[in-house]
């Protein structure tokens, strides 16, 4: 699935081709996965785990908050640059895949936002601390913003522009004057 998605995007994958590449019969395929979508989502889940682990690791090294944040963003951008078709499939195509592509997207975004909450400067969470019952809004805004910008470059196939986004997105998130 990963190979075919990398070559053709999710839309271009057929079960026949998939089974052929895996050197199994379509019957065997259906014994493993009820549908093309389920197989794809299994791949999606693996990619998400892998990328999140990379982000956490990148953020985990030493340095100030802004530097660590930028490393995490860079790690994400590096993944998108190295595997643009997989990144496109997971970010852009997956939400439209029935039956629960949108739900998966939502879950993943919430997860990343929970991680990101630890990585944001205190200024973001000021209002949230005033009413602590709800999870803070700011991380969702930040994660949504970063993903939107990256998706746009992926959509336009402007992969060479991805690395430059690291410092720019970090600047968008951190007040230039207020390094913490």
């Amino acid at each position: 699935m990963a190979e075919l998605v990398a070559q053709r995007g999710y839309g271009g994958v057929t079960i026949n081709e998939l089974a052929r590449r895996a050197r199994i019969s379509t019957k065997t395929f259906y014994g493993l996965f009820p549908s093309k979508a389920e197989c794809f989502f299994a791949l999606y889940d693996e990619v998400v785990e892998r990328v999140l682990a990379t982000l956490v690791q990148a953020w985990g090294g030493g340095g100030d908050q802004r530097g660590r944040f930028e490393r995490a963003v860079d790690a994400f951008l590096s993944f998108c640059e190295a595997e643009p078709a997989i990144a496109r499939a997971c970010l852009i195509e997956a939400p439209t895949v029935a039956p629960d592509g949108a739900a998966r997207r939502s879950e993943t975004v919430q997860r990343v936002a929970r991680l990101a909450a630890h990585a944001l400067p205190a200024a973001y969470l000021w209002e949230a601390r005033q009413r602590s019952a709800r999870p803070p809004i700011a991380p969702l805004v930040v994660v949504g913003g970063i993903i939107a910008v990256v998706e746009q470059r992926l959509r336009a196939a402007e992969f060479e522009k991805l690395p430059a986004l690291g410092p720019e997105l970090t600047a968008a998130v951190f007040l230039v004057a207020q390094d913490l």
Partner: protein, 210 residues
């Protein structure tokens, strides 16, 4: 089309003149489409059902619209026009750019808070019509990003990320939080989030520019 009426309850058919004019037919069908889709989902909103809600015959539907997507997308387009002019007016009426941003955001969130069925249609149901739905979604986002980029160019810019990128970032962020709330069925809470969203936007590069 009064997309700012507090509820979309259609005037009962028997209170209308016997012969509807084209304008009325179109408006009733658009309103009915939004109501039915918000209640049942696009997939379960057949043309006969929508026509019935509008107090019209299926034949009358097809005199106004080619098919179901045609009607649905027309409703979406009108909603977007209404929203765009709503936020432009809110922004323009303010004395300075930062207040303008605040007012525009409040107007945007307030509209969906009052009209949850419209939020459902725009965020959850639009993807049911492909590929036209995705094309429109992207176009609407770009349009709003243009408006935000324009706002950033008005404010005295300090050093910071490029305005276009900042605009995409801000719109993407707001879209994400609105989508999550609509998805969770918590649309009525949107207006209350305005302050926190604004804080999140201004904590970073939006303040450097604004």
């Amino acid at each position: 089309m009064e997309w700012d009426r507090p509820n979309l309850a259609l005037v009962p058919r028997d209170q209308l003149p016997r012969e509807m004019d084209d304008q009325t037919r179109r408006e009733r069908l658009l309103a009915a489409m939004v109501e039915v889709v918000a209640e049942r989902g696009y997939a379960n909103s057949s043309v006969p059902r929508v026509a019935e809600r509008a107090g019209m015959s299926t034949r009358s539907f097809y005199r106004v619209f080619e098919n179901r997507p045609d009607c649905f997308l027309a409703a979406y387009d009108e909603i977007v026009e209404h929203l765009v002019s709503l936020i432009a007016r809110a922004y323009g009426a303010a004395g300075d750019p930062e207040t303008g941003l605040s007012r525009a955001l409040a107007a945007f969130l307030g509209y969906f808070g009052e009209r949850p069925e419209i939020a459902r249609v725009c965020f959850l149901e639009l993807p049911a019509v492909q590929p036209a739905g995705e094309v429109r979604r992207r176009r609407t986002i770009e349009r709003v990003a243009e408006m935000v980029a324009h706002h950033l160019s008005r404010s005295s810019g300090g050093p910071g990320p490029p305005q276009r990128l900042m605009a995409e970032f801000a719109v993407g962020g707001v879209y994400n939080i609105v989508y999550e709330r609509v998805w969770a069925g918590e649309i009525e809470s949107l207006p209350r989030l305005a302050g926190e969203i604004e804080q999140a936007l201004l904590a970073g590069g939006m303040r450097a520019a604004a």
